[in-house]
């Protein structure tokens, strides 16, 4: 660019001693550009949040490192490197939280036996320690919900907590898990499992994370106190109910009752009529 055009810059330069050489102009512009870029970068570094201590890879705790090793051995096939998920095989685990891992791995649902409508509960593959390590890894990787530590049941001093929990259970849970907690069918081979074997932690984690086909019951929908009341109802009322009326017939309701009346009642009475009619 030439400085022939009249303007306030041109007038300023007139006071200088003679025109500068082309080389000097070029060098000067390079220096000015470098200075400006350095300034801008420095200001950014000073004011931008959190970047001061940033490193390329997150520093994992020892437990998480152990968990990562387990993950890379057993889970990576479907959930991908760094738990990012594999299209058509397994979802990303970023943000699912330790609660989800503890539920899925702790109940043996993960690793899955095969790709199907829903993972089934089975004897867990990993020990409790390994499950915790895996959970720690996923937690440190992407955060997410965690099962609170401590007692997960409503305080025993609260006498009506179980009744409130029962009410919440019938509103929120029984439509899939059934009144007796025996579980029920969902569409296309999916199902709500029976609650017979579920522990306090597992029920809490399930409500918090909504595993498989279960909806999430976040703390805005059911407060931690309400979750504990539901757990108290399931564990202390439903499971402790010793079927005062006799054998519960699996608590499947009228289906097994109808079966029983024919298989037991009518069969017994038909045999009785065969016997009594033969007495003559």
């Amino acid at each position: 660019m030439t400085s022939d055009s009249p303007g306030w810059l041109g007038r300023l330069r007139r006071g200088r001693s003679g025109p500068r050489s082309r080389v000097r102009r070029r060098v000067g512009s390079v220096v000015r550009l470098t200075l400006a870029l350095t300034l801008a970068g420095g200001v950014y570094i000073v004011f931008a949040p959190g970047l001061a201590g940033a490193k390329d890879t997150p520093q994992l705790s020892t437990a998480a490192e152990e968990g990562k090793a387990l993950f890379n051995q057993s889970c990576i096939t479907c959930h991908g490197p760094n738990a990012q998920g594999v299209e058509g095989r397994g979802p990303s685990l970023i943000g699912v939280g330790a609660a989800s891992v503890e539920f899925q791995v702790g109940t043996g649902r993960m690793p899955m036996a095969r790709q199907e409508a829903q993972a089934e509960r089975k004897p867990p593959v990993f020990t409790d320690e390994q499950t915790r390590q895996l959970a720690q890894y996923i937690q440190e990787l992407g955060g997410g919900p965690q099962v609170p530590s401590g007692d997960l049941r409503a305080p025993e001093s609260d006498e009506e907590a179980i009744a409130r929990g029962g009410n919440l259970f019938r509103i929120n849970c029984s439509s899939c898990h059934a009144f007796g907690g025996g579980g029920g069918a969902l569409s296309s081979g999916k199902y709500a499992p029976g609650l017979g074997e579920a522990t306090d932690q597992q029920i809490y984690a399930a409500m918090l994370t909504g595993p498989q086909n279960m909806p999430v019951f976040g703390d805005n929908q059911l407060t931690p106190e309400q979750k504990k009341e539901i757990i108290s109802y399931i564990q202390e009322a439903l499971k402790q109910d010793r079927d005062p009326g006799g054998w519960g017939l699996g608590r499947f309701g009228p289906v097994t009752e109808g079966l029983a009346i024919f298989l037991v009642g009518i069969v017994a009475l038909v045999f009785a009529s065969l016997w009594i009619a033969g007495k003559s």
Partner: protein
């Protein structure tokens, strides 16, 4: 004073004579007590229904002492802790009290429920017997109609009783019932609002169901049962064909004493079986269901078994919603899909059986009165039709519980629904065909035994090398060696030791009560000694 001597043995006769002098009861009583009933186990199936109805009346009366038919909200304060402090209707609270705080209340409730299931099951099994043996033919069409009505009124009794505890399961059922009533075109809304006195559930339904369940419906049932049994007395019981039995007599036992004592014993057995079930098997644990609220529902919500076929038809029926445009007037008119499987289907299923005796008489041009029964194999078309109807009902009933089946047997629920839809159309005709062929096969075997005799199990080798089985003819044979007996519509002996008047060779019902007679020893074949196998083994070594 001379002591008067009392002849103890004369007391019954004397007092009976005195009673007869005053009430003239001897003549009618004699004909009643001397009435003859034919004896066959299948004639006792109706009695199971009658006796379980008596158990229903007894246990039901006990329940009314404690039940409160009110929808008023109360706070539960009974002994079942997981519900303490919960708001619920007085009806549900009193049902809980009946279960937990009334002595013997739970077993009474359970006996009542099991007796209801037994009552309905026995009605259905009894109906099968009547249908397959042709006992509904002239002159007994009226009793067939009354029997069918008894099923539907028992159905209503069951439904109203099922709803009374006002628990969440029965409340779901009541909600469905109100939806079914609403689906009836034109009159649906009026029917529903008049029954519930406004919107579902309203405040009066328990009171209305209660009076229907404890007074109106049992009254109708009692009246119909009285007519049903009275007609059996009047028209006399049917009997199987057999020696000495004709269309004009009844061969059997007199009402008194044998038949009456047997029936008394049978009542005790029915009572005992129901009491055992009430004590051993838990039924309808309402405390797990909680009080009914519109927002509570459970997986596997089913009605009792005799309503389940309607649940199944609802699950299988496609969601065909029919909309009319009333020439631009209003929003048009909609017939919801639930109308077809729950109103039209039971309507057809009520009317068709009622008309069946007349349809069959018209098709077979049979206008005669029949007192002798038919063996199912001898009327293959009717038997096959019955099998077809049972298959239709079975597919519907299984579909009513298809979510439980899908869950427990790890089958997709959608697959179950489609299996039910296809099965409902395909399986009944298959059942018809298979039953028809089985009937013909059984008939043919009967005719074969009559023509050739009973298989003796003796294989004979002829001089030319052929093997034949020796048949024992049942009667003298003609020149071709064929028996000349006609089929008498009754069991044809097919085993050597059941020939003629002989009973089974070994007596006893479950196990032999006497040792079988020693088989005659043929001189050519000495009896096989038990040591022989061991000896043979030694030889083979």
């Amino acid at each position: 004073m001379k002591r008067r001597k009392i002849d103890v043995r004369a007391i019954p006769a004397k007092s009976a004579g005195a009673l007869d002098d005053r009430f003239q009861a001897a003549t009618p009583l004699r004909s009643l007590l001397n009435k003859v009933f034919p004896d066959h186990w299948s004639f006792l199936l109706g009695e199971i229904a009658l006796f379980s109805f008596i158990v229903l009346l007894l246990t039901g009366t006990f329940l009314t002492f404690f039940y409160e038919p009110s929808l008023q909200t109360v706070t539960y304060d009974g002994s079942y802790t997981p519900l303490r402090g919960t708001h619920m209707s007085a009806a549900y609270a009193s049902s809980l009290d009946l279960s937990f705080d009334v002595r013997g209340g739970l077993i009474m409730r359970q006996m009542h429920h099991w007796a209801a299931l037994t009552f309905m099951a026995a009605i259905v099994v009894h109906m099968f017997r009547i249908f397959f043996t042709g006992a509904f033919r002239k002159p007994r069409e009226t009793n067939w109609i009354i029997g069918s009505l008894l099923f539907w009124i028992g159905f209503l009794a069951g439904f109203t009783g099922y709803s009374l505890p006002d628990d969440a399961l029965s409340g779901t059922g009541l909600r469905i019932a109100s939806a079914i009533m609403l689906s009836i075109p034109v009159i649906g809304s009026w029917v529903t609002t008049s029954i519930f006195d406004g919107e579902f559930p309203g405040h009066v339904i328990m009171g209305r169901f209660y009076i229907a369940h404890v007074l109106l419906i049992p009254g109708i049932l009692l009246a119909l049962i009285a007519v049903h049994v009275g007609l059996v007395f009047k028209q006399k019981h049917t009997q199987w064909p057999g020696p000495g039995r004709t269309e004009h007599n009844v061969v059997g036992e007199r009402m008194f004493p044998r038949y009456a004592i047997k029936q008394g014993g049978f009542f005790m057995i029915v009572f005992g079986v129901i009491a055992l079930m009430g004590g051993l098997f838990q039924i309808n644990p309402i405390w797990l269901f909680g009080p009914y609220e519109a927002f509570t529902v459970s997986a596997a919500s089913q009605p009792d078994w005799y309503v389940m076929f309607l649940d199944g038809s609802t699950r299988l029926f496609p969601a065909w919603e029919i909309r009319f445009d009333l020439f631009g007037w209003g929003d048009g008119y909609t017939i919801p899909p639930i109308f077809w499987p729950t109103v039209v289907l039971p309507g057809v299923l009520t009317m068709l059986p009622l008309a069946y005796p007349f349809i069959e008489a018209r098709l077979t041009k049979d206008k005669k009165a029949h007192n002798l029964l038919q063996r199912p194999r001898d009327v293959p078309a009717r038997t096959a039709l019955g099998a077809m109807a049972i298959m239709f009902w079975l597919v519907l009933t299984l579909s009513g519980g298809n979510d439980v089946i899908a869950d427990k047997f790890h089958i997709s629920l959608n697959a179950m629904t489609w299996a039910g839809r296809i099965g409902l159309l395909i399986l009944p005709p298959i059942a018809y065909y298979v039953t028809y062929r089985i009937c013909l096969g059984l008939q043919q075997h009967d005719r074969e035994v009559l023509a050739h005799g009973v298989e003796t199990g003796i294989i004979k080798r002829l001089p030319d090398g052929r093997f034949i089985e020796v048949h024992q003819p049942l009667a003298p044979v003609d020149e071709h060696g064929h028996g000349e007996l006609d089929y008498a519509g009754w069991v044809v002996p097919k085993k050597m030791n059941r020939l003629g008047a002989l009973g089974p060779a070994i007596k006893g019902f479950f196990y032999p009560i006497e040792k079988p007679a020693e088989a005659p020893v043929s001189p050519g074949h000495p009896p096989v000694s038990p040591i022989e196998p061991a000896r043979r083994e030694e030889i083979s070594k």
